[in-house]
């Protein structure tokens, strides 16, 4: 079964070579006339205000955390879905309990306003 991954490895190597090759080509053949203004971060031509390494909204971290929780649910559902017809009613009820527990958490997150953006 492992040999079915061999073509994938070759494909990854080809894609890497393509990416590295095109970047290297433009690095070698492109002109290079750096100046302080050209190398400064782009801010519509205005003088820079502060730095980009600052705090940003906590909402983005919340989304990332919620994603991990629900993505695990997703990962559990995949093998279950493949054998669903063989599991029958038993599998349906068991997964129903699992999803119900998650739905309680989902309702809590919704009620707490973690999914609101304004």
């Amino acid at each position: 079964m492992l040999e079915s991954y061999l073509p994938i490895l070759v494909l990854i190597a080809l894609a890497l070579m393509f990416a590295l090759g095109s970047v290297a080509f433009s690095f070698v053949f492109g002109p290079r006339k750096p100046s302080a203004a050209k190398l400064a971060p782009y801010e519509c031509g205005m003088p820079l205000i502060g730095t980009a390494r600052e705090q940003f909204s906590i909402k983005f971290y919340m989304v990332a955390m919620l994603f991990i929780l629900f993505d695990i649910e997703c990962a559990f559902l995949y093998p279950w879905a493949v054998v669903f017809k063989r599991l029958g009613v038993f599998g349906f009820i068991e997964m129903g309990v699992f999803i119900f527990v998650l739905l309680v958490g989902y309702a809590y997150v919704w009620k707490k306003g973690a999914l609101e953006w304004e």
Partner: protein, 337 residues
Amino acid sequence: MPEMLSLSNDPILFIAVMLTKILSVFIVVVLIVAYATYAERKIIGRMQTRLGPTMTGPLGLLQPIADGLKLFFKEDIIPSQASKVAFVLAPMMILVPAFITVGVIPFGGDIVIRGYTVPLQIADLNVGILYIIAMAGLGVYGIVLAGWSSNNKYSLIGGVRAAAQVISYELAAGLSIVAVFMLAETLSLRGIVEAQSGSILNWYVFSQPLAFCLFFITSIAEINRTPFDLPEAETELVSGFCTEYSSMKYALFFMAEYANMVVIAALISTLFLGGPAGPFPGVINILIKVFGFMFIFIWMRATFPRVRYDQLMFMGWKVFLPLALLNIVITGVVIIL
């Protein structure tokens, strides 16, 4: 049906066939990506009563080649404040996952070479869909890294927005296709195509219309196309996470975006429209379906305004996620009854 060609029964033929398949698929994808940029400019031009590119070659057909050559010979700027290693790596981290996901998509039926069955698919993984979702997840690293390493406010906001959007919609997209696996009983794309074979009525778009709509919309959000192109909302963020990029590095972002379009179009065709099934030889059928979906993507860009960020998150978490779960429950009940 004769024996399946594998590394053990004829190693030389196996490797030759494998390399031929990989090279031809890669070249076809690069060509589609190049001419998708041309098609997009031409189609959107026509939709806005303009002509689009006309000057380079007949009907402007050499435009993608001219653009590519121009980008090769442009100055490669690395901003002085940027984190250099991450800045150089990020475009490649986006391009590579975008190009390698085509590896599991079947692009035709089986053919027989020297008495062995050869499937027209680079690799038939038994976890094909998981592989695609994993690679789509890896692409997010490139986007975040590009935004962060540029050390530019627009890039950072674009990168963080893109990450939140892609992971939110990955959930809904991942859940919406669970119903397809329940029907097909496999994660292998070849198996899913086989489960839809026979008649056109076996295509999952007819038995799973809700999953089809959900997956279509959420995948557009996942590849950051209009109306979900907030990460590079040019009216507020200049060019989003690729603001600081120039030359071939910028081109890599561009190519990754179009390669993602090709992969998503091929994936929707495979999961819901029977893949290579249809009246013509398999390769032509799948190309027709892919081009059809890509035309719809371009058409949507010419038609729809961009959604607001709160609307985007509202739809992803409060509409598509519950609908996808509901669809799984409905499918489960129908299968049991």
